[in-house]
């Protein structure tokens, strides 16, 4: 009886270690999203500059910079990486602000069909077809052309305005 306690503890520790390994394999990519606003300030050289400051609050009409950062924390390369982000409710995408180095960016109105923004079209109430407006784009997708080597980090970014 008195010997069973350490063996139980050992078994528990082993189980925990296995769990962590499995967990690490399942989450090779670490993904974080941040909301920031661009603020101007005077830098050390006395020049006007802008920087991104994390925000907790905003007003209607404020422009928010959304940044999604992906990091490969596995020991193997990760490929076919596609980051997807719906434009949050109560926000409108600012046209031509989505960026991501080494990515192909596509957009969607309905979250099902993704195309370049110029290729998207909608049909208005009169049945006429027209190009999509920035406020009608509700989803953005970034497809990386190359794999993430172990430890590699990259980010994608877009701007949206609080309705």
């Amino acid at each position: 009886m008195s010997m069973s306690t350490p063996s139980h503890a050992l078994a528990a520790a082993l189980a925990l270690s296995i769990l962590q390994t499995v967990s690490a394999q399942e989450n090779c990519i670490e993904l974080t999203t941040t909301a920031e606003s661009e603020q101007s300030y005077i830098n050390e050289q006395g020049a006007q500059a802008t920087r991104l400051v994390p925000i907790a609050r905003a007003l209607p009409g404020d422009e928010v910079v959304w940044t999604v950062t992906a990091k490969n924390r596995c020991s193997k390369p990760a490929d076919n990486i596609v980051i997807a982000n719906p434009v949050p409710e109560h926000m409108t995408l600012v046209a031509n602000t989505a960026m991501g180095v080494g990515t192909e960016i596509t957009y969607s109105v309905d979250g099902r069909e993704f195309k370049a923004s110029s290729a998207l079209s909608v049909r208005d109430v009169n049945g006429a077809t027209r190009g999509v407006r920035p406020e009608e784009i509700r989803h953005i997708r970034w497809s990386y052309r190359t794999a993430f080597t172990p430890g590699a980090t990259a980010f994608v970014r877009y701007r949206a305005i609080v309705d």
């Binding site: 209607p60 999604v68 076919n80 406020e135």
Partner: protein, 362 residues
């Protein structure tokens, strides 16, 4: 196979948007204060050629603060309001529209003031709020003042993107003349909303000072960044302006009769008193008194058997009355002809009333 074809058709189909605003909540006032905006990204990827379970980021969240936006617009005075703007009128109404374009319900209190550089000042300025509920901005129609129901002096709560009607009441001084004008300024001050019909007036809304706080901050987004707006409306007086001219015509004398009659004793002379209204509104209850020359006496029965005729131009009609002191309001007593105003028709703007009577030279 049929499913695959169906999917292909769906992907070829164009997205159908019922209206331009269908996919976003486009309010003039903006997203309601206190709304939490959250964003979660996801990633799909493969390792060693094997697709992995997609991963979601933790949600990044921020909260929408309160932005105060309001407007005050003067409504062009209605014909009724214009017609009521006469000298000595009490509680003359001018109408204003108050709009809340904040992203939160707010209340309003009001300060009406006389603007200096005009012809006269109004007295007893007061504000009354239309008892009707607030209306959406796009479909707003101003209310009409009803003294019985429109008794509130502040707006307890007006929802975002709604307008309501506010009335300024003012007394016009008796000295104000036709076409003179007075300008009233209505300032609307945003106050913390209170539940309707409680009666308590909310405190003035203040802007959050200093850094972002944990609660919902308040920012003044209006033009002056002060949470108040104001505008002016004009009281232009419409008044009757009367001018009087008197003329005499010799009708007959005892020798020439009506052929070139002369002003000799026994001659009949007709006096015409023309009262012209060159103002903007009808002149009502116009009374006339005229001292007769001591050497004359009123002639009787010249006008349809009566002694005095009153004709109003512009289709105002002709009436007659007697010189006797009776219920018809006309009389000649102690050498003075009197037409009591209360009994006479009004003289419309631009028209002339002519009083005719005849005397005999003693």
């Amino acid at each position: 196979m049929s499913i695959a074809r169906h999917l292909k058709q769906a992907s070829l189909a164009l997205f159908i948007v019922s209206s331009a605003a269908a996919l976003q909540s486009a309010y003039a006032a903006g997203t309601e204060a206190g709304t939490s905006i959250s964003n979660t990204a996801s990633v799909n990827y493969s390792v060693g050629g094997v697709a992995q379970t997609p991963i979601n980021s933790s949600a990044a969240t921020f909260v929408v603060d309160r932005r105060i936006f309001l407007s005050v617009v003067a409504i062009t005075p209605s014909p009724t309001e214009l017609a009521a703007t006469v000298p000595a009128a009490v509680g003359v109404v001018r109408t204003f529209r108050i709009t809340n374009t904040s992203n939160r319900p707010i209340g309003f209190r009001f300060t009406p003031t006389n603007v200096g550089s005009d012809n006269f000042d109004l007295a007893n300025l007061a504000v009354r709020v239309d008892s009707a509920a607030g209306q959406p901005i796009a479909s707003f129609t101003p209310g009409t003042y009803d003294g019985a129901t429109d008794t509130a002096t502040t707006v307890a709560m007006l929802a975002a993107d709604q307008s309501t009607t506010v009335f300024v009441l003012a007394d016009v001084p008796g000295t104000a003349a036709n076409t003179q004008s007075a300008t009233v300024n209505l300032q609307a001050i945003s106050i913390e909303p209170t539940t309707l019909n409680v009666g308590a007036v909310g405190a003035d809304i203040v802007q959050t000072a200093g850094a972002d706080t944990a609660g919902i901050d308040t920012v003044f987004g209006d033009a002056g960044r002060d949470g108040t707006e104001s505008t002016t409306n004009v009281y232009t007086v419409s008044s009757a302006t009367l001018g009087v001219t008197k003329s005499a015509t010799i009708i007959s004398d005892p020798f020439n009769n009506t052929s070139n009659p002369k002003a000799i004793p026994g001659a009949v002379v007709e006096y015409a008193i023309a009262i012209a209204n060159t103002g903007a509104v009808p002149a009502q209850q116009v009374g006339v008194t005229d001292a007769l020359n001591a050497n004359t006496a009123i002639a009787t029965g010249a006008y349809s058997g009566n002694d005095i005729e009153i004709a109003v131009s512009g289709g105002g009609g002709t009436t007659t009355c007697t010189a006797a002191a009776d219920a018809d309001g006309c009389s000649v007593a102690s050498g003075t002809l009197t037409i009591a105003g209360a009994s006479r028709p009004s003289i419309p703007a631009g028209q002339t009333a002519t009083v005719r009577f005849r005397v005999t030279i003693n």
